[in-house]
Amino acid sequence: MRSYWARRAAGAVLVLLLVIAANFFLFRIMPGDAVSSIVDPRFSPEAKERMRELFGLDLPLHSQFFIYVRRMLTFDFGLSFLSQRPVWDEIRSRIPNTIALLGSALLLSSVIGTWLGVHAARKRGGFVEKLVLISGSVSFSFPSFFVQLVLLLLFAYTFPVFPLRGTVSIPMPQGTLNLVLDYIMHMVLPAGSLVLLGFGSWAIYVRNLMVKTLGKDFILLARAKGLSEERILWNHAFRSALPPVLTIFLLALPGIVSGAVITETVFSLHGVGKFLLDSILGHDYPAAGAAFYILGLLTIFSNLVADAAYSIADPRIRVGRRAER
């Protein structure tokens, strides 16, 4: 068991190094740099050359690479080309909004989805199951930006219940409670739309797991023992279906960042997803590289934690079999 974890950790480090290298070269082969996309007749070629020096873009590639690796490992991401502020500061200022958005969306959609899924499995052919099956397919089939734009237009303009943009009203409301309420009002549409788009997939996944579990021998045994249906459902069946649900939850963490890119664009939120988009479009390598690096860390970390969670929650299952779900 210990050697397994050692192997896993070594693997994680290897992946991390791969991510760093891929990052560096990915952004190196991208055409142009921040300086070459400055087009301003008031900037002479000499002034641009001076700018390249400042960003270290005039150094040979290999020295740039070593500087890069060292910086990544020490979390010193340098200055953003676009803003000339430390990249880490830029990212840090955006993390709270993204966590609030994605965290609440993921939590709500997984809780609602799980609850619906369990109930769908209990009564096959019932209303809840139909709802789950239909909402699962439908919410998966709509382009997220389309749904979000329509919601924005409907509930922020036609029926102006919610604000159009951002996370605070202007001028800012006074008092902590009002501030929090204001923040929540601003988050309802973005996070709500993500829940709307996401809960169906959860529900279907949990329902399928539960259907499988409810057909297993130990459930039959529990039924034979005369335990109440409610208890069988939650204490026996759901408990045994919990590890894969947890795993999926953890593995979904990095993936939902994709959702943040579009959501933050539509609702003008100051978050990491929009930052990622801007840095890529603006060829801001230090910023995009750092954002990717953090995503990579998040991926590796959630994979490791998922493994750990799986083995802790269900020790019967040999670690590493997760892949065969």
């Binding site: 991208m30 055409p31 142009g32 740099d33 300086v35 070459s36 996309s37 400055i38 087009v39 301003d40 007749p41 008031r42 900037f43 002479s44 070629p45 000499e46 002034a47 641009k48 050359e49 001076r50 700018m51 400042l54 200055l79 953003s80 676009l82 803003s83 000339q84 502020r85 430390p86 200022s93 955006r94 909004n97 734009l149 924005l152 237009l153 922020a156 303009y157 102006p160 159009l164 943009r165 951002g166 996370t167 605070v168 202007i170 001028p171 664009t265 539509v266 003008s268 939120l269 100051h270 978050g271 479009l281 060829h283």
Partner: protein, 556 residues
């Protein structure tokens, strides 16, 4: 040809219309302020949210409205006043003059005649742009209307080519004179920028028009950086691009002088013309305004014959202001979203309320030494003043921190150089209460020069010495002769010497988040401007309060 006079009349008519609505005060001496208590520059990046917010009343001023559908919608909105002005935008197609067949002037002229700029403007911008045949934006004081105009006429283009010995193949492709093979297909590089969804469309129209006269062109949409790389390595046939220029015609030198055909230079098309070079040098190193004007006019005439570009259109600047504000200032050449409006506008109902001003992108660093971003400067421009301001109506120089100035040519023979003498205004104070003096200007220019800061590099590199003989006099001696030194030095923002001396590293300086050492509520963003910076909440807004001690020139 484009009935320039009529259009000018149109803008004059507009001024009257907005005057009726309580705005349109053009006499600068009648401006006073600032009158609004607070200013919020609210960040709305999405054009849809901008329009919706304006309609909901969450925004008071929205500049740079580009989509015709929005203009039409807002023009029907009784709560909004629109104003239009000619901008400094210029969209063109460039040829690669380094290679055949584009080194042939006749072909370029014929191509210019083939592009229906006027129809493009109608169909793509619903008329809210100006078709161009010039190499400077028409709003420029140096614009020369009397040039060779390649009026749209495909038949004329064909005739021109035929007379020059061009022939057409069986399938209608041009054959260069003295050759047998028809032209090979060309690529028109077109950036796929988010900001201008219309560019792809315009490029397609141009390519289609060129095909009409037998030039086989297809559009290649490219990421902007990718395109710049191709242009930098001269790996292109044709390209489209847009510039946002300033009032000075100095840009002509940057675009067309042969010395600018270097890596990172803007003579992208590779124009080398000795006689034009001469005139452009006269323009860049003109000792006075008259010489500059003369050279600017001559170079425009020469350019229209050489046809190194096909100028296509220039966008009008459309600005919307909510009704209920008096004192909005807009002219034919300056759209309503300007500093003068900000200073002068006040609620029609009396009293004071904050102005909500749209900022269409994040001000990313708010470091006046490092940033070149236009959005940063929308914010910083209200905090920092320069010696000279630009008159919104004539675009001429007008007093600001300096009361008056002189441009002299001093020295002998090859050592002749420009000397600028500024008389500064008295009684001006920095936001933190310290008095402003010539020492501040001297310290600013010296700081910019010593650190070779890219943004100011070109403005200050020719400074020989800076003298401040007394608190209200500043003498800047340049190394060479150029009238533009006045605008470069006089237009540069002035920073307080007592703050500059504490800047350790200008690249990473973050004045917006460093609190002021002695004044509570202030940051290190201390200027002399009409508004005092309070707070920047990333992704949300920038908050200013009115500078009570601000005085406009002439009312010290």
């Amino acid at each position: 040809m484009f009935r320039t006079k009529v259009i000018l009349a149109a803008f004059a008519a507009m001024a009257i219309i907005s005057g009726a609505a309580g705005a349109g005060v053009f006499d600068l001496s009648a401006i006073s302020g600032p009158k609004a208590s607070d200013l919020y520059m609210v960040i709305y990046r999405d054009p849809d949210s901008q329009i919706l917010a304006l309609q909901k009343g969450e925004l008071d001023v929205l500049g740079d409205i580009t989509r015709p559908v929005d203009v039409e919608r807002l023009s029907e909105n009784p709560d909004v006043t629109l104003s239009i002005s000619r901008g400094f935008h210029l969209f063109f197609m460039g040829f690669n003059l380094r290679q055949e067949p584009w080194n042939d002037m006749t072909l370029r002229q014929a191509a210019s005649m083939a592009v229906p700029s006027r129809q493009i403007v109608r169909d793509i911008f619903s008329g809210y742009s100006e078709p161009l045949s010039a190499y400077l934006p028409p709003a420029s004081p140096y614009y020369e209307p009397d040039v060779k105009v390649w009026e749209y006429s495909p038949e004329g283009a064909r005739k021109l080519l035929k007379d020059a010995g061009w022939k057409w193949s069986a399938d209608g492709i041009l054959i260069p004179p003295g050759k047998n093979a028809p032209l090979k297909p060309f690529r028109l590089l077109s950036p796929t920028a988010q900001v201008a969804p219309t560019t792809a469309e315009v490029s397609e129209r141009i390519a289609g028009a060129l095909k009409e006269i037998g030039i086989p062109v297809s559009v290649e949409p490219l990421d902007f950086s990718m395109m710049m790389k191709r242009l930098d390595s001269h790996d292109f046939d044709l390209f489209v691009m847009a510039w946002s220029l300033s009032r000075d015609p100095d840009s002509l030198f940057a675009f067309f002088h042969s010395s600018m055909d270097v890596r990172g230079g803007y003579n992208i098309q590779g124009l080398h013309d000795d006689s034009l070079d001469k005139v452009l040098e006269e323009l860049r190193f003109a000792p006075d305004r008259a010489t500059a004007e003369n050279a600017a006019r001559r170079s425009q005439k020469m350019l229209s014959e050489l046809a190194p570009w096909i100028p296509v259109y220039s966008r009008y600047m459309v600005t919307a202001v909510r009704k209920g504000w008096n004192g909005v200032i807009s002219t034919e050449k300056t759209s309503a979203d300007n500093m003068w409006t900000l200073i002068n506008m006040e609620p029609a109902s009396g009293g004071r309320r904050p102005v909500m001003w749209c900022l269409s992108d994040e001000p990313r660093s708010l470091n006046p030494l490092g940033t070149g971003s236009a959005y940063d400067w929308q914010v910083l421009g209200l905090i920092y003043d320069s010696l000279i301001a630009i008159d919104p109506e004539t675009l001429d120089d007008t007093p600001w921190l300096a009361d008056s100035w002189k441009v002299e040519t001093a020295g002998e023979g090859s050592g002749r150089h420009t000397r600028l003498i500024f008389n500064l205004r008295e009684g001006i104070r920095w936001h933190d209460g310290n008095p402003f003096s010539s020492k501040d200007v001297k310290a600013t220019l010296e700081f910019l020069k010593k650190n070779e800061i890219p943004r100011y590099f070109d403005s200050v590199r020719d400074i020989e010495k800076i003298e401040a003989p007394d608190a209200k006099t500043l003498i800047v001696t340049m190394k060479n002769i150029s009238y533009w030194h006045l605008h470069n030095i006089g237009g540069s923002p002035v920073f307080p010497a007592h703050i500059l001396e504490n800047v350790k590293n200008w690249e990473t300086w973050q004045p917006a988040s460093e609190p002021h050492p002695s004044q509570k509520g202030l940051t290190m963003l201390v200027g002399t401007g009409p508004f005092i910076f309070r707070e920047y909440r990333p992704g949300e807004y920038v908050h200013f309060v009115r500078n009570d001690s601000f005085r406009l020139p002439g009312r010290d």
